[in-house]
């Protein structure tokens, strides 16, 4: 048994939509099989108006125990720190968030916005958005560096834009069945069980990466090759299980020819979307990827790349993903 309250701040609902795609367990399974009681969710709750306000006050006053507080979206502080750009149930959402986080046993940030501010916090950050416990890569955010919920954990960050449903449901189940102690967190408070490996781990293009064979361009040009060298793929640089735990159970960005955009890292969106940075690998001297994935100097990298290309087997230069 665990009670869950889920609220939206400066949110696009993408994480909720992702969550509703869940299988094994589905969202209905969470309720019927795992005793998860969803006290309220903005897209699924029956209550509105006064009933919601009364519920929130009962939680804050601890008449109703809150086991898991899930927050999706940024904490909106604008204008000028007032939070009036995001009102909810009669007051700035940020005030609800502060009080609820302090009565909940566990606080879970679902998706990048709640984790670190994400796209809304890209300069000029017109809404003065921030994450629950990080602002971009910097610890702190809305609740502060030292925040620990009553259950003894900092905000559990499930990043991604959106977060994969499975990352959310498995963490909820772990908390609901008393396995909070098994959730080990990394430096960004991400559960290591999901965010130790790279987005590239399990990528169907990884053989092309090893032989340094690049995808030529989008569309039919992605029938072979690795997306890292030209098309800006961040697979080797991004901690995420997208190619271990497939999206919608069937695919991943890279498998469909879509470069990884590094959305589980706290600097996302990368380079603040500056001109020339989208779907284009940033390079030194026009050839060497600027963000090397190897622990070596540029010359060693070049030698390795040239050697790999010369040694590449014939198939590596042919279409792999054919009709």
């Amino acid at each position: 048994m665990a009670t869950v309250l889920w609220l939206h701040g400066g949110a696009c609902n993408g994480n909720t939509m992702s969550f509703l795609n869940a299988e094994y367990p589905s969202v209905c399974d969470l309720v019927t099989d795992f005793g998860i009681e969803i006290l309220w969710h903005p897209s699924a709750g029956l209550e509105m108006g006064n009933q919601v306000q009364a519920l929130l006050r009962d939680i804050v006053n601890e008449k109703i125990p809150l086991d898991i507080f899930v927050f999706e979206g940024t904490v909106v502080l604008g204008p000028n720190g007032t939070g009036r750009y995001n009102m909810f149930a009669g007051r700035p959402m940020k005030d609800w968030v502060y009080e609820l986080a302090h009565v909940a046993k566990f606080v879970v940030a679902v998706g990048n916005c709640a984790c670190q501010g994400n796209i809304p916090a890209v300069p000029p950050n017109p809404t003065e958005s921030t994450g629950l416990q990080f602002h971009k890569t910097k610890k702190g955010g809305f609740l502060g560096e030292n925040f620990v919920s009553r259950g003894g954990l900092p905000v559990i960050n499930i990043p991604g834009c959106p977060a994969h449903y499975d990352w959310i449901t498995q963490v909820l189940v772990a908390l609901a069945v008393g396995r909070a102690g098994d959730i080990e967190l990394d430096e960004y408070n991400r559960p290591l069980t999901f965010f130790k490996t790279f987005s590239q781990t399990g990528c169907t293009r990884v053989q092309f990466h090893e032989w340094k064979i690049s995808a030529e361009e989008f569309g039919q040009g992605t029938r072979k090759g690795c997306l890292f060298y030209e098309l800006g793929c961040r697979g080797p640089l991004t901690h995420a299980p997208c190619n271990r735990i497939l999206w919608n159970g069937v695919s991943s960005k890279q498998r469909s020819g879509h470069p990884c955009i590094g959305c589980t890292e706290f600097a996302f969106p990368w380079f603040d979307l500056a001109p020339g940075t989208i779907f284009k690998t940033q390079k030194v001297a026009g050839v060497i990827p600027k963000e090397a994935v190897y622990e070596s100097d540029k010359l060693t990298y070049m030698l390795h790349a040239v050697t790999a290309r010369i040694a590449a087997p014939k198939w590596a230069t042919e279409d792999m993903f054919v009709v």
């Binding site: 993408g14 509703l20 209905c28 017109p126 989008f218």
Partner: protein
């Protein structure tokens, strides 16, 4: 003197975003309303000065619910600015993906967002209540569970082509990123058929999709209802019976004027991406219906009125000239402003009018034969021109019931269309992308029909970066506040007149608002009521 009550509903939930509604009730009916979008998101400001492709990453994240639709039109906006030549296969894949997003949205919206209100205790006396609870109660209802779980299938098709749903950016100027394989196509058929057999026919219709599509008039629908137990007892049958029993066919009309910017490009009519050529190439036709007359849609007639929006000024600008300068709501309220939504208007003979966007709008527009001559491609796909909802609106008028039926009807059509487009993906002409020339200057326009209505972007590119970006969402069309002339938008207008049986739980307001499937997260830019204090006899629910 009648008793006037002022109800504050905050939050008016399940609108995919937060809304506060101030409802004024007299003699058991709503006589005035103000709907406030209570959140500012600032995406258009963020986009300025960024990479021209930034819209592909940013706009789907305006709204996780119709991110695929955001991507479709964001991409088209750059396509038109760069005059790309998108290969036919790429258009088919874009169309399949976006329609699959809508196929997902129909059951998910119906069960998770809309129908659970019928479980409300206000309806406990209904003869159909036990059945409604059994099927539609959240999380545990028999159909709820099937509907929610089936909604994940169409987006598996999306994910095969786009890598994931939500939030893919796989449509790029010049085509798509993917180069599908045979098994993607074959599996897509399998997923569609599962959607049809397990939910659309078995649970929703209680008949074949082809039998449903024989309905051309409201009388046909009533005849269909009585034709068999299987029809009456289907979720669609139960929905219609419940609506007729509880008067949901009698309120929620709105402005009775409609906008569809159309979508689903037929590549045969669109060799080069241009704004001028777009209408001709639409398979789901565009058009404006005002005072019962059809007008050819022209994006140049779109304006945004910000008189009552929390933005600086009171301009009425075309989106290319659009401005987004936010005000502190506390300051703005003193100027009589009351919402974060802008109020889009359409010029008819130079006069800005409010229009409803959404499935009902699309289906009414599709009822006009003129739409076929305005959009040549619509003649090429079955049921693009479809008389059913024009007839229903003429016969019984728009209402909560009719609006919901229009949306459900689209699941049937889109199921057929996705199959037709899958058949068109041609591996002999194996092109899914043609690299465009990235022009440093240009103006673009992209439009599509998200599940909830016309969704459009206007982009101005200068010196290789975004100079201006404006997004006009269906929710803004529907939920925007009054304009400079005091004309209400569709949702405010539709709420006025609604009966309120129980002022402690005014579920009828929620039915109307939710029938539009508004999505406030998408109202990139909805809140007032100055008069409340003077008029209100009672103030229900103001916890400070």
């Amino acid at each position: 003197m009648a008793t006037k009550q002022h109800l504050v509903i905050d939050p008016l939930a399940r609108l995919e975003g937060d809304v506060r509604a101030d409802v004024f009730v007299e003699d058991g009916h709503v006589v005035d309303v103000q709907v406030e979008a209570v959140m500012f998101r600032g995406f258009e400001i963020i986009l300025r000065g960024k990479d021209p492709l930034a819209g592909l990453i940013v706009t789907p994240r305006v709204c996780g619910i119709c991110g695929g639709s955001h991507l479709y039109k964001a991409c088209q906006a750059i396509d038109t600015a760069w005059r790309t030549e998108v290969p036919p296969n790429a258009w088919h894949i874009r169309n399949i993906a976006q329609a699959c997003e809508t196929l997902q949205s129909v059951p998910r919206w119906y069960y998770a967002i809309f129908a659970i209100d019928f479980v409300n205790k206000n309806y406990a006396k209904s003869k159909l209540y036990d059945e409604v609870v059994k099927r539609w109660a959240p999380f545990v209802g028999t159909s709820y569970k099937i509907g929610l779980e089936i909604s994940a299938l169409p987006v598996k098709i999306y994910a095969m082509f786009g890598g994931q749903w939500p939030h893919s950016s796989f449509m790029v100027p010049g085509g798509v990123m993917c180069a599908p394989q045979l098994d993607h196509i074959t599996r897509a058929y399998a997923l569609l058929e599962r959607y049809r057999t397990e939910w659309l026919e078995k649970v929703w219709l209680g008949c074949s999709v082809d039998r449903w599509l024989e309905n051309k008039t409201w009388d046909d629908v009533l005849k269909w209802l009585d034709e068999s137990e299987s029809h009456r007892n289907s979720d669609c049958g139960l929905f219609i019976r419940f609506c007729l029993e509880n008067g949901l066919d009698k309120y929620g009309a709105g402005v009775n004027a409609f906008l569809a910017c159309g979508t689903y490009i037929d590549p045969e009519f669109y060799p080069v991406s241009t704004i001028e050529g777009r209408n001709q190439a639409l398979q789901a036709p565009s058009g404006v219906v005002y005072n019962g007359k059809y007008y050819v849609f022209d994006q140049m007639n779109v304006r945004e009125d910000i008189t009552h929006s929390y933005f600086e000024g009171s301009s009425l600008l075309h989106p290319w000239e659009g401005e987004t300068v936010p005000l502190d709501p506390d300051v703005a309220k003193k100027q009589g402003k009351y919402s974060w939504a802008k109020s889009p208007r359409y010029l008819i003979d130079g006069k800005p009018v409010p229009l409803e966007a959404g499935p009902l709008a699309r289906q009414v527009v599709a009822g006009y034969e003129e739409a076929k001559s305005a959009c040549n491609a619509s003649g090429c796909i079955e049921h693009a021109i479809d008389p059913l909802f024009r007839n229903i609106v003429n016969k019984i008028g728009p209402s909560v019931m009719v609006r919901v039926l229009a949306r459900m009807h689209e699941a049937v059509k889109y199921y057929k269309w996705v199959k037709a487009w899958l058949a068109k993906v041609n591996f002999d002409d194996d092109r899914f992308y043609k690299k465009p020339k990235e022009l440093p200057e240009g103006k673009g326009y992209g439009g599509t029909e998200a599940a909830r209505g016309a969704l459009q972007d206007w982009i101005v590119i200068e010196n290789g970066k975004i100079k201006n970006y404006q997004i006009v969402t269906p929710t803004a069309w529907n939920i925007g506040p009054k304009d400079s002339k005091g004309q209400m938008g569709p949702i405010e207008k539709a709420i006025v007149g609604a009966p309120i049986k129980n002022p402690e739980d005014p579920i009828e307001v929620a039915h109307v608002a939710r029938s539009f499937d508004s999505c406030l997260v998408c109202t990139v830019h909805v809140y007032d009521k100055k008069r409340g204090k003077e008029i209100a006899r009672y103030k229900l629910g103001t916890f400070k």
